[in-house]
Structures are given as structure tokens and as C-alpha cells.
Symmetry: C2
Subunit: 612 residues, 2 copies
Amino acid sequence: MKLTESTILRINLTSQTRVEEIVDPEAFQMYLGGRGMASKIIYDEVDPAVNPLSPDNKLIFANGLLSGTSAPTGGRYMVVTKSPLTGTIACSNSGGFFGAVMRRAGYLMIIIEGRSNKPVYLSIYDNNVEFHDASHLWGMTTDRTTDIILEEFGEKRARVACIGPAGENMSNLACVINDKSRAAGRSGVGAVMGSKNLKAIVVKGSHVVEFDNREMFNRTIKEKISIINEHPVTGEGLPALGTKVLDSIINQNGLYPTRNFQFTTFESTEEVNGEALVNKGYLRSNKSCFACPIGCGRDTVLPSGRSGEGPEYETGWAFGADCGVSDLIAITEANFLCNEYGLDTIGAGATIAAAMELYEKGHIMREELENGPELKFGNSEAIVYYTKKMALREGIGDRLAEGSYRLAHKYGHPEISMSVKKQELPAYDPRGVQGHALNYATSNRGGCHVRGYMISPEILGVPEKLDPQELKGKPDWVITFQNLTAVIDSIGMCLFTSFALGLEDYTDLINSATGYNMTPEQVLKVGDRIWNLERMFNLKAGITPDMDTLPERFFKEPIPDGPQKGAVALLHKMLPEYYKHRGWKKDGTIPDSKLKDLDMKKEKVITMKKSG
Amino acid sequence: MKLTESTILRINLTSQTRVEEIVDPEAFQMYLGGRGMASKIIYDEVDPAVNPLSPDNKLIFANGLLSGTSAPTGGRYMVVTKSPLTGTIACSNSGGFFGAVMRRAGYLMIIIEGRSNKPVYLSIYDNNVEFHDASHLWGMTTDRTTDIILEEFGEKRARVACIGPAGENMSNLACVINDKSRAAGRSGVGAVMGSKNLKAIVVKGSHVVEFDNREMFNRTIKEKISIINEHPVTGEGLPALGTKVLDSIINQNGLYPTRNFQFTTFESTEEVNGEALVNKGYLRSNKSCFACPIGCGRDTVLPSGRSGEGPEYETGWAFGADCGVSDLIAITEANFLCNEYGLDTIGAGATIAAAMELYEKGHIMREELENGPELKFGNSEAIVYYTKKMALREGIGDRLAEGSYRLAHKYGHPEISMSVKKQELPAYDPRGVQGHALNYATSNRGGCHVRGYMISPEILGVPEKLDPQELKGKPDWVITFQNLTAVIDSIGMCLFTSFALGLEDYTDLINSATGYNMTPEQVLKVGDRIWNLERMFNLKAGITPDMDTLPERFFKEPIPDGPQKGAVALLHKMLPEYYKHRGWKKDGTIPDSKLKDLDMKKEKVITMKKSG
């Protein structure tokens, strides 16, 4: 199986048929797999106006260029579709082992079309594809689903990606869970899977990716692993504390959103941070994804004996500071429930936080909770209780399942939803980091930190320290970070490698693996191309440029506490320059000249039937 | 097997030998089995000065007269020993099925003597007794221990009583757990079992109790069951909400001890009461003990899927209001951990509450918590975390395991322990119920509500409503309740029947079962005899009458909140009359005349070798 000639599996669930295709080799180099290539397919094949939960939407499980190889962190896959949460194109990225094994099973990508008339799951073993009835799995949690499928499949070392009850119930916050605890988390991609009546995909295979020059690739990998191991963030901080190394840093910098972004410092940070997870004895061990030299995963066990993966920084924050909760057991339990029921932890936690503000301000009434715990900030029971209600759409959980924007809108107060393009913001207050604010506002999948992680330079000083309140130069930084991230996603590597690696390193990895001879500028242009492609889809889908904004709280309410006290978001001082440097029109639309620059062959379908 | 000629099994763990004995028939009628008869054996055979955790202490598993018969709630057994927590004689009472099945296995009582040199468990099947190595079970939770023993014993319907890690670690708060979730809870009887290296007893049998007049007994039972079913407390309140029917009642009456008895009303009662347990969906079903027509047990399941029995009123209060915690999930989880690790829930919760007051007042320092959660009132994580630490004696858990009195004493503030005779008080503030206060102070096993439950008349109005602040007549009420309770315990019935049944009813049951022709006065005299016997043991053990008192808070600090605001305990206005009406000397000791009145044959051993 040659790296750049990987096969695509196209499944039609309506007709329960399959066909194999390959990608145009030229297109391969233009998008480098994963996010880029899958977005191109969605762009070419899906009407941007489609109802995301209709059979006409498509759902792509996409490996990146290096997924399944021994490139460091080369185990990532993406789920690409039109999002029911945001209405934008969505790409949710996950680690674990599913992606790598899916490639070994024979496929770079799996395109899911149509809708089955009853619950099904797919098994794939070295290009042998079978449809199975999944009626007996419907309603089951992801861990139980995984166990049963592995037993039925008879291959213990196979890998499963599936949805839980939240996906079946088409919650806008539903994710796809693979390997029991890794999530393609955001934008409701699990709801699209649920809308298709597809419960799971199980993969196993023996294919090995071939390289033109295996020795050169290995040498490059070895070099990059050394860089990763020697960097303080990827070599020390992340292995020791996982992403939860960030809690104290972000809190100390006055960016730690507390009580639905009403405050920026949390008084109980030391009770819930990464150090606490270790010191309280809940951390059992690190956990690594496929081919990962970092190992930021948290294998945890609670005093009750309940165990699982997490919490990560964002999860711990969403159920913790954002809900005002200082009980690390409850936070971790809410995380476990999200994994088991298939909910995005950021979306679920942040939606409960919004509900708490709505409740405390008298918009949600006590009766609506139907005897459930009070939705008050700090209520540890509430985060566990309503997470499950949300997954099952029971009682007020039915409204929570729609996400914070639709919830707050329902009560006439959309401004209480801390979201961009209806997707909940993650754990950094944008008023305190202006570059990151610009990134939030312009992200192609709505509120997101992993589309251009400006926290890295603005707070962590990687690759260099920028003043978080300085505006000058920030649009260019954001553009570069957004483009580079699109490349890292597309090649199937983990974004965390970018703390240690730079554009040149990724270029080395791409060239040594493929035999391409791309310059760093050409590689970055791939990212630019992907970014513009996503934007084109969104514009056609009715996601207008005026939605490149932030919740009004960040403009109207200066930060009331902490080191960034008094700050507001200065987005509109940066946005014109951002549009300009993106090569866009003043109104935020994309001129043909930009598309020409990017060599974008509009409307050309990039897949073709596999010969032979 | 004749009811009044039941066999006693005497086990010596040091020599791993056994012998069968029977009780003198005359003595049987004097003590009626259970608490009375086992206390007489302890009194006769154990030096009151003995170290409770030495091999010279004895541990008796005792059925009552009617245990294992179809008398309503006739499934109770008791564990009687000298307590390591209080230094008094102790009798801890439990339901479930173990006691009834132990009688079917052939025994009214099992007397455990000595100490095994390695962990053992006993199996008993129709008088066949075997000793088994229990090294593989040491360290295991009670549920796991039970499962493994049932598997090894090969009899699924057998019944197990065992200790968890808390008993092995000889915590003063360790209990004996039978049937996985019923507890002989108080006074540290599990530590005595642990000190003997006895992990468990498993029983099964086919013996049936014979009656002289089965028809008359059945008729009497039927009549008493009707009374129980028709009473609002036993026929409605307890089945619907379990003992947690009390939360709101006791809170509304301003007796609900909050934050280690600093307050008497809890602002979050509605979040944690019996109604909440039902309405939040945590209650799966009622659960009944052997032959019980009430069914107050709570079979619960949490959103995490963790399930078990509880919380009862006392447990919910101890981890809830007493610790200021309003998270019903955390409260229930702490309960499950107590069941699994073998801890008394009242003692464990109340000790954490005392630790919280010690911490908030600056006596326990942050460093001593070794990175554990802060010991602040309201911290839901702390109650779960420190319960487990206590059972395992890890970190500060080693001090908590000693109970609140020794903990508070260690920090120089014994007054912060809300205990009588070093045993933690249950869920009723004595300042608001003077009769109950007198009962607390004079209880023979220290702080306890089930030695003379004056809440029944003083608050619930059963059998008639008394003013809780009135002193007149209270000593006589307390004496009668204490004596009657000793009878109910001894005949192996549940104290909850006394909401519906009176002295005459119990007399009917005793006479119809045995053929005795006792008057109600004679039956009550049995209770008086037992009470005095226990007192005699305690006096010899150095439990002096000046220990018939309450924590100084109840005398010095008037209730600061709620309907009983301003009240203090008026114990010393009642105690002289109590002593006098007990027939005791002014100094609280027992004159020979009283013993003569009670026909107590001092020092006479009441058991004899079984003939044939």
C-alpha cells in the first residue's frame, strides 16, 4: 500500500453498498490527506445548504498523510461533515489507535453516505467490508458497545469507533468515540453518525504503508522524536500532567474562564488542576496514542473504583471552573459519562455552565428542572446529573442537548451562550489574549482553540513570547497558525507536536515520507488552501462574515478580576487586517484572485474509481 | 429445633476448635436471646478491663428469640462485644438475611474467642463447621469477599457476614457487613472481628424452628402484621421514603445537626432528602430484610451506574448536613464506600464533620492533608475521598480511623467531637429534644439513637405527642423506651415495628411463640434487667457515671438558628430523677437491692455443654 495512493472506501448506507476509489495523485499533494482532502470531498459532493442530519449529508472518517506510519503521533484521524451544531463544515480530530488500524485495514478514508433504515455497524478487515445489524447495541454506552463488537468480531485487537446514546439521540454535542475514550469531539459529528443509524465501525488489518525511501523517513522521524523529547512542554510538562499542566498557568494569567466566563480566575484551581489529579491519587498512569512519544493521556481511577480516561485540561475546566465546581471526583465522573454516552466534554460542560447562568439569573425556573439538582454554580451533583440527562434528552436535558446557543436563545438570552457560530468556546477568556480572540472569531468550525492555538506564543512563549494585549502583527500570527494547523491536521499528526516542531520539521516529514520536494512555503500554502476551502463551504452554507465575532460580553463587560482586569476584546481592530492579509475582500468574502493564487480547481472531484 | 432450646456454637480461633452448648432454659426466659443473652455471656466471661482488640475479648453473633421465624421483621441478629471505640459493652444490630440463615444453620449464637494466627473464615452448614484460610480475601471489599466466598462455598443462597479493609485495619469505626449492604454498624465491632483475624462467616442450613403451638403463633403474627401495615409510619412513610422520610421533618423541627452540630437547620435539605432520592431517579426500588412487611431499604443507582444500598436517614445526614454537603451523589457514593470498606456510616461521616470543624478553626493544617481535598464544610469531594482514606488508614485517614473523639483530642480540642462516651451522636440535636438528650447521655453504648428513640413521642407524636422542651416525666419515658428497646433487640425484631406495636403486642408475640405466660410488666422487666447488666459491665470497665453527659457545646452554646433557637440541653435537671427511677444510687451506681429486684443471679454462667 503506497503512502500517496491510499484507497478510499465509499459506503452507501441506504443501499448497503460499497465501492473503492483512489485520490487523484495531484490532489493528494494539494491537500495532504485528512482534514484537507476530506473537506475537499465534502465541498465537492455535499450541498452546503443541506440539513446536516439528513441522508444527503456525508460523514467522512479520514486519515492524514502520515496516519498509521511511525511518524511521531502519527495515529490521528478526523471526522469531517457538515455540523448540526454550527452549520459550518466540521472536522473533529481524534487520537487513539482507530485511525492507524483503519489504514492497516486498507483505507485512507471512509465516506459514509445515505441512511440505513435500521441501526447497523460496519466491520472492515483487510478490505473486507460487512454490514451488521446493530439493533441490540442501540442505546448502549460506547464502552459496552465496543466490548460487544470486539467479541462479535472475534478480534480482540481490532479497534472500534462508535457513538453512544447522545449520538443516537442526535444531540448537537454528540461526538464519535474510538478506543472507548478518545473522541472526535466537537461540532456534533456524532449526531450525523446517529442520523445515519450507524452505531459503529470496527477495523482490523495487516496492510503496511510502503515508502519510496524507508531509511530516509526513519532517519527523519528519529530526528523529530528527539526534538519532541527534548522540549520542556512535550518532553516534560505534557507527560507529567497531561494538558492539565495548563490549569495553573492559565489561571495565573487571568484567562481561566470561571462561572460561564463571568470571571477569569477560579479560587479553587489548586483543588482541580493537573497537580491535584496526580497528588490526590486519581492518576493511575499516562496513556499514549499510536506512535506517540509524548503520552499526555490520563488513565484515572476514582475512590469509587470507576476508571477511565481523562480529564484533559478543557474537560476539567468545562465541568470545573466554568461551572464553578471544585470537586475533582465529580468533574472526572462527568468526563467518564461523556465518554460513555458520547458527548463532547467542552460542549456539555459549557452548556451546563450557560444553563447555570440562565438559572441564577431567573430565566430557567426551578419547576423546569423537574426535581433535579439546582443549576447553581458550584453544584457538583448538577454536572454529573445533567450530563446524563443531556445524553438521554430527558427533561431539561432535551434542551441542553441542543447546545448552549439554542438553549440560551430559547430563553430569550442568546448573549448568555459563550459561543462562536453556536459552538461553545474553550478554556481561554478572549479578552485577555487578543490574538486568540481573533482566532476564535475566524475559526471555520466556530468556537475552537485547536484551529490556531495563539495561547502558545501569547502565554506560553512558544515559539516566542508575544504580549497578549498587543494587536500589532497578531493577524499574521493567527493566519500562519491557522494555516499550519490545517497542515498538521491533514497529515495526521497531533497538534501538540507543534510546541516542539516548526514548519520546516513538518516539511521534512512530508518530503521524506512521500518523495515530494515541497518547500516550507508550499506546505504552508496547503494550509491556506484548506482554510479557504472551508471558508468557501461556509459562505455558501449561509455562514456570513458578520458571524466572525464573539459573544457581546467580551466587548461590553471588561474583565472584572485577576491580572487582566479591565480588558475587553479588541477584535474589530484586527479583523480588517486579518481579512486583508488573508487576501479576502473587505466584506470577508473570497475573491477569485485568491483562489487562483491557491491553484484551487473549483468543483473538480478529486476521487476516482479504483482500477483493477 | 425448639425455639427456646437453641444451640450455641463456641469457636476458639486460637486453637481452631469448636464446641456446642445450650442455654439454661430459665436464663432464656430472663434474657429472651439476642442482646440480653449475649450481654450476659460477655458479662460472665469477659474481664471488663480487657483490651477490646486483644484475644481475650469475645465477639458474639447473636440471634434473638424470634430471629429466623416468620414474626414480622424477625430477621435481626446482633454483634455483641466490648467496644474498642467506647470501652463499653456494645451491641450492634443488623437486618438482612444472615441472622435468619444462621439460625437455620443450627445456631442461636456463635461465640468467637481467641485469635487466629492468620486470616480465616468460617463456614457453617447445618451444624457442620469448617475453618478456611482467608489470606486471599484479606484487603478485599465486603462485596468482593462475599462473592468469592459464595463461589468457594458453592452455595449461592448462603449468607455471608464479613469485614472490609476498615475492620482488618482495626478502625474504631469498623462495622460488620452482612448480605453486602446491611451493617452491624456501630461501636467498632468490625475492629474486634479484624483483631481476631476473622474475615467472614458464611452460613446455610435447613433447620426449622419448632413451636408448641404453631397455629396460635401464626394467628398472632398475622394480627401484628396488620397493625404494622395500617400504621402511617410503618405502612406508608417508611416504605415510600425509607428512614429518609425524616430529613424534612427533623429539619423543620430545628433538630437537623448541620456542620458538626454548629447549626440545626440545613439550607439544602430539599436537595438531599428522601423525596430527592426518589425524584432525582436514584432510587431503584425498596428493599426488605427477612420477614419484613415494611421494606424501608433503599436500592439505589447513581448516574455513573454505581449501585448499592442506601443512603438511610442517618447516613445521608452524616455525610450531608453534618458535613454541609448538598451533593446527593457524593453522599450516596460515600455510603457505598462505607458498605464496601466496612465502615459505620454515622461514625465515618460525623468524624469527617468534626475534622472539618477542626480544619476550619485552624487546628488541622493544610499540610497534614497531604494534597487531599480541603476539609471544608460543603466539600463533596472530601467526604468520598476521606472515607476511603479512613478505611485504609492512609495519611490523615489513620487519625480519622480512630473516631472523632480521639481525633479531636489529638488536636487538643476534644470538645469538637460531638460524641457521648467517644461514640459519635446521630442526627438529632439534643438541645431541641430534652428526652432524647437524656437518652443520649445514658445510653450504654455511648452516643446512640436506637437505645431509646425519644424522637418518636417528642417529635413524631408516637405513641403520643410530648413537648420536646418539657422535662417533667421525661426520665420515666426514657427508662421505659430504653427497657422496651432492649426487649425488642433481644427478641430479634426491628425497632421500627415499635412505631406501630406496643409492649402488649411484643408480649403477645413472645408468649405465643414460647408458651410462656409473661405479663407485659415481666417483659419490660427483662429490658430493665438487660439495661442494668450492661451498666454493671460498663461500671466495672471504668465507664464512670460522670460520663453520662453530652458534649459541652450543648450546654454552653444555645442553638443559633431555626425553630429551637436559644435552646440548650437541660440534662442535669433530669439526670437525678432518671437515676432515682432506675433504682440507682445518687452517684449513678447500682445498689444490690436493684439487682435483687431484677432476680439477677450474679456471675452465674448461663450456658452448658450440649448433651448427646
